[in-house]
């Protein structure tokens, strides 16, 4: 009986370790879905190790990690969540780094609607401007910094011309469907291979809003995992990963 219990216990202990040898689970903020798939594919080609990617909002990931989720690495959509995890002891100390920086864009699904200086935002021809909720999304907060700087927040709000998406994905959908003529969205949502994919855009100058930092952190459970460390290094330093990140419309610190 004792032997059987020992055998079962060792099996239970051995299973996760065996699964971690080649495969490791990475929590990726939904806005970084496409580039992370490409980077994971390149990493697998070069090393044979496979990053299994999960996509969700950063807030959900935080709740899941606090409740025992099997993730080894978090690629967050902000810098606050990884910092909080590190502070609370849920992450490997000193493993936090910025892997991408977001760029804010004023975008319309219509060709030629947005001018090269963003002057359209000050005019009356558009009925609705879509932004992400500033309390929930860093891009939303950045959008309001621009509106505040241009003293547009109060007039647009009192005219009820601002529509709010829960996250940057929803703000994009509101604009993409044409319900809002303009949207303050992420450049990465409309950028393919470094070019505007469709519609018209004004890239908001970086000095008009605080940097949108997306930070990564290695989680406590993988503190001694060399493969996860290798993937984090690959994401941070390899020319291939940096090229992919830039091609999707992010900048690098």
């Amino acid at each position: 009986m004792k032997k059987l219990v020992l055998l079962l216990a060792s099996l239970l202990l051995a299973c996760p370790a065996a699964a971690l040898a080649d495969e490791f689970q990475v929590a990726v903020a939904a806005n970084f879905t496409a580039p992370s798939k490409d980077i994971a594919a390149e990493f697998e080609k070069e090393t044979g190790h496979r990053a299994v990617l999960s996509f969700d909002s950063t807030g959900n990931f935080y709740a899941q990690i606090k409740n025992g989720a099997p993730f080894t690495l978090l690629l967050a959509a902000d810098s606050a969540t990884p910092a909080k995890l590190e502070e609370e002891g849920g992450a490997k100390p000193g493993s936090r780094f910025t892997y991408a920086q977001g760029a804010l864009a004023l975008w319309s699904a219509r060709e030629g609607y947005v001018d090269s200086q963003g002057e359209v935002l000050k005019g009356d021809q558009f009925k609705f401007l879509a932004v992400a909720d500033p309390k929930l999304a860093p891009y939303g907060a950045a959008a309001y910094e621009l509106l505040d700087a241009w003293k547009l927040t109060a007039p647009l709000q009192s005219a009820q011309r601002i529509v709010t998406g829960n996250n940057i994905g929803q703000a994009f959908q509101l604009t993409e469907s044409g319900q809002a003529e303009l949207g303050l969205i992420a450049w990465s949502q409309v950028c393919r291979d470094g070019q505007l994919s469709r519609g018209s855009v004004w890239l908001v100058p970086a000095d008009l809003y605080s940097p949108i930092l997306q930070d990564a952190v290695i989680l406590k459970s993988a503190a001694d995992n060399a493969v996860v460390q290798a993937f984090a290094d690959y994401l941070k330093n390899s020319p291939k990963a940096r090229e992919i990140i830039l091609s999707y419309g992010y900048t690098l610190p």
Binding site: K37, F55, Q64, N67
Partner: protein, 230 residues
């Protein structure tokens, strides 16, 4: 290629999840609905309210509480840890557990209504003929309320296929393990691959209409049943 291997994996997972959930929910829900339909005490009403709760709670709230409750620091998670079991969140079993809980009202309600409509007489008749309670339930009640069982099964199955918020929270969106169809659509929408999202979402719309159509076809029989013609 209309569907990718990941799509097929998500579809398989969703069908597996919905099938297992439907069977388990019926197994739990039928006795529960029977008990709820046989009396009025405050304790029974309280249980009825708890069973109905997933209908009104936002899915992410339900998912969050399940995560906390079943996770390593929650009461159920601690018990599981002490017994040496694997924790439920982020596993297929966790998805099944969550799905049974949020599908329960969809199964219990039609059954409870049918049991209440049935009244005491069939059971009394069965008892006078010498049938025990379980025997009477299986040979008298179940055949007479078959349409309600079908409604319950279709509703439970369809609702499990369509659920997103709870399974995202409790499952962690892990490919081949917990990434069901609704999460695969979410991934496509996030990567702005709308064409692929449309294929899956369109399939789901078709499936939902088909499921509701089945219910509509069953409906005349239920009405006849209510009028005592079956």
């Amino acid at each position: 290629m209309l569907l990718t291997p990941e799509d097929w994996s998500a579809i398989r997972l969703s069908l597996k999840l919905a099938s297992v959930t439907t069977v388990l929910t019926l197994a739990v829900g039928a006795p529960l609905a029977w008990w709820l339909s046989r009396g009025e005490g405050w304790w029974r009403r309280f249980c009825g309210a708890v069973v109905t709760m997933p209908l009104v709670l936002p899915p992410t709230v339900l998912g969050f509480y399940l995560l906390v409750f079943l996770g390593p620091f929650g009461p159920v998670g601690r018990l599981f840890g002490q017994l040496g079991f694997r924790l439920l969140p982020f596993t297929f079993s966790g998805l099944v557990t969550a799905s049974v809980i949020f599908s329960l009202p969809f199964v219990v309600q039609p059954l409870q209504n049918a049991f209440e409509a049935l009244g005491e007489r069939p059971l009394e008749a069965a008892a006078t003929l010498g049938a025990g309670p379980l025997d009477a339930f299986l040979t008298v009640i179940v055949p007479q309320t078959r349409p309600a069982f079908l409604t319950a099964a279709v509703m439970g199955f369809a609702h499990t296929i369509g659920e997103f918020g709870v399974v995202l929270m409790i499952g962690g969106n892990i490919p081949n393990v917990t990434r069901v169809l609704s999460m695969q659509i979410y991934v496509y929408v996030e990567t702005i691959e709308y064409a692929r999202a449309h294929v899956l979402a369109g399939g789901m719309v078709f499936f939902s209409v088909a499921a509701m159509l089945v219910l509509q076809i069953l409906k005349p029989r239920r009405e006849k049943f209510a009028q005592g013609r079956i």
